[in-house]
């Protein structure tokens, strides 16, 4: 059967669920059945047109992580790259560290704990927040029916993150999540569930890192975010995995009445990175700023697939994804704005801009609009351009060499995205990461 492999099979699902409550075992098995009956997406599908899974994903040769993973690990035993990445993360409401598919550390400010904020591993949450998971995990936000790999993730997650912010609670500092993968030849499934109750506020930064691999390592991240009435959520994904990694991040966000649910996806690492982001504006007055930036180098393939669903009236979404490409890299942006019938007075914008720095790089940009309401303001735009020689000459005429000039232009080009993001501390970190990336050869 298609997609079924010796390691990733129904037995594996049963094994994972062995000590779990019945509802969860059933939920996993149901997800597995959805996975099995959903065909592997091919390039004949519009959404996968430029990312050929049959050639890039080696699921058949990947195993699952070992079952008895450590539940805790001292900081001094973290890999150096991970420690460096976390060095400036002290400005946080809490931290969570996941290694090779299992959470090894969590902390949260006492004050927030007292106010009822929950930041915990999914495995622990199965025991401590069973009812909550039963209601929310892989149900309304990211059900297996969303797609084949969303289903696979719902069936095979080994651990993940649960963040709950109770009604009205304001979390000032971001929750910092660091995830590390060290093993090649395996498939890791991690899930994130964030629920911001009415009028609460929270930000969340997920940084995904790994070693460089000579064989494929597959990391599937399922992200479900629910912002209830008037809640404000900022979600950031920093993907900085090593070569050889295939990262699949599938995010779905639900914004209810007057909620704000912003996302920032930064793709820098991995050999193949695919982001599926679906923003659902479900309540009147809901708002989503969707930012993205990517910088692809030699042999990297990035595919960003976004969807802005305006279901309620008076909703607004504004998407800006910008990417730079060098070497033999390839990027794809495909975005759709869909305005449902009855979603009057929708404002929806979508812009994707690509800057090509090499003759061997290629960017495809496919913006799309589907509008079933009449009183709307929508726009979409896409550009794929090269460095302007006049700009380079201007910079070089001040003494910058060609490379420095190029870097400065790229910095400015990508910086426009960060300038729009409201969290200063996070922006500083992302800028620094981009600086490192720009400085690297």
């Amino acid at each position: 059967m298609e997609g079924v492999t010796p390691a990733l099979n129904q037995e594996a699902v049963k094994l994972l669920a062995a000590n779990e409550p019945d509802w969860l075992r059933e939920r996993r098995l149901h997800a597995w059945s959805v996975y099995e009956r959903t065909p592997l997406p091919t390039t004949r599908l519009e959404e996968w047109r430029y990312t050929d899974l049959s050639r890039t994903l080696e699921l058949d040769s990947l195993g699952l992580p070992p079952r008895e993973a450590p539940r805790s690990l001292a900081v001094d035993r973290y890999p150096e790259r991970l420690r460096n990445a976390m060095e400036k993360d002290w400005d946080a409401s809490g931290h969570l560290v996941e290694m090779d598919g299992s959470v090894v550390h969590t902390d949260l400010l006492d004050d927030l704990r007292r106010q009822g904020v929950v930041l915990t591993s999914l495995q622990e949450a199965v025991e401590t927040h069973e009812e909550f998971l039963r209601e929310h995990l892989a149900t309304e936000v990211l059900p297996p029916e969303t797609g084949k790999f969303q289903a696979l993730n719902a069936a095979l997650w080994t651990d993940g993150i649960l963040l709950i912010v109770p009604k009205g609670v304001q979390v000032e500092l971001p929750a910092r999540i660091s995830r590390w993968t060290s093993e090649a030849g395996r498939a890791f499934f991690s899930r994130t569930l964030i629920v911001a109750e009415e009028g609460s506020r929270v930000s969340y930064v997920d940084e995904c890192l790994s070693d460089d691999f000579d064989r494929q390592s597959f990391v599937s991240t399922g992200v479900e975010i629910l912002a209830r009435d008037g809640a404000q959520v900022q979600y950031v994904s920093l993907q900085r995995m090593g070569r050889g990694a295939f990262h699949l991040s599938q995010q779905r966000t639900l914004a209810l009445r007057d909620a704000t649910l912003d996302t920032l996806n930064v793709s820098l690492g991995a050999s193949v990175a695919r982001v599926d982001l679906n923003a659902q504006l479900l309540g009147a007055g809901a708002n989503s700023d969707m930012l993205g930036l990517y910088f692809a180098g030699d042999d990297q393939h990035f595919d960003h697939n976004t969807r802005q669903d305006h279901i309620a009236p008076n909703t607004r979404s504004d998407l800006l994804y910008k990417g730079a490409l060098e070497g033999r890299s390839r990027t794809v942006f495909r975005g759709i704005i869909k305005v449902y019938e009855g979603a009057q007075r929708t404002d929806a914008y979508q812009t994707n801009r690509n800057l090509i720095l090499s003759d061997h790089a290629r960017a495809d940009s496919l913006p799309n609009l589907e509008i079933a309401a009449d009183d709307v303001r929508c726009s979409h735009g896409a550009t794929v351009g090269q460095l302007d020689e006049e700009v380079l000459f201007y910079l070089m005429s001040r003494g910058l060499d060609r490379r420095q000039a190029e870097r400065l232009v790229v910095r400015g080009f990508l910086g426009e995205v960060l300038a729009k993001f409201p969290l200063g501390g996070v922006v500083a970190k992302v800028s620094e990461i981009i600086e490192q990336r720009l400085g690297a050869d």
Binding site: V391, F393, R398
Partner: protein, 255 residues
């Protein structure tokens, strides 16, 4: 040493897009001298300036350009800049997302040895000082280079950049165009201050108007027509052109 000219151009021919623009141009600037070039639209003034700055589209086909004893045409644009040749553009280019401060810091850094780092405090002091000289609001340094600037702001920004980067040869391509009277005086003052600090600074002013030359007094004024210098003299040449225009030069002088 002292009498090696800063810039010496001999019988320079140059083309752009396969059209010959400069046709046998001769010019020499010594240390500390100010020269002005005037000439009708399309006569090749900017072509000369861009060629000197190393724009890749402008190609010298014959003749020589020697800067401080070295063959300038052998150098890349960035090398020329680091050696002290700086051009204030007639049409400055917009660089979205890159602040003036950031840009200038990178440019200053580019002049240092690989293991040296810009001293950020010194840099900041210099920047504040030069911006005060040019009567610019401090917030200006954080604006993206030329992005959304008015015509006058762009020109002032060009002089700010030059003032920060200490050229030996400043090429000012119509820096005065688009400046109001006050701004013209401020910019002229800045150029004069740069010369006070570095008496060796040689300046080539390309202009259509005598006005600027009242503030920055040239030692020589040249008339350029169809890619060659057809007349050279003192400041009185500018006064005469202001009154009579280029009519007398319309017939190619002996060329």
């Amino acid at each position: 040493m002292s009498d090696i000219p800063v810039l010496s151009i001999k019988n320079l021919h140059a083309k752009v897009a396969d059209i010959e623009i400069l046709r046998g141009l001769n010019l020499e600037l010594k240390k500390g001298e100010i020269h002005a070039i005037m000439g009708p639209n399309g006569s090749g003034k900017s072509t000369l300036a861009k060629l000197l700055a190393g724009h890749p589209a402008y190609e010298a086909t014959s003749g020589e350009v020697v800067y401080k004893g070295k063959d300038l045409l052998e150098m890349e644009a960035d090398e020329r800049a680091r050696e002290g040749v700086l051009l204030a553009f007639q049409y400055p280019v917009e660089i979205p997302g890159v602040s003036i401060a950031n840009f200038l810091r990178t440019a200053v850094q580019a002049r240092l040895a690989e293991d040296e780092e810009v001293d950020l405090f010194d840099f900041q002091d210099d920047l504040v000082d030069r911006m005060e000289l040019l009567e610019m609001d401090p917030s200006f340094a954080e604006r993206p280079v030329n992005d959304g600037f008015s015509g006058g702001e762009k020109k002032r920004g060009e002089i700010l950049q030059l003032a920060m980067l200490n050229p030996s040869l400043a090429l000012l391509d119509e820096t005065d165009s688009g400046l109001d009277i006050d701004a013209l005086q401020i910019v002229s003052k800045a150029i004069n201050v740069m010369r006070e600090k570095d008496p060796d600074l040689a300046v080539l002013i390309i202009t259509h108007y005598q006005r600027v030359l009242n503030y920055v007094q040239p030692d020589f004024v040249h008339v350029m027509v169809k890619g060659a210098i057809v007349e050279s003299g003192g400041p009185e040449v500018a006064t005469r052109l202001e009154e009579q225009g280029y009519e007398e030069f319309r017939v190619p002088a002996g060329a």
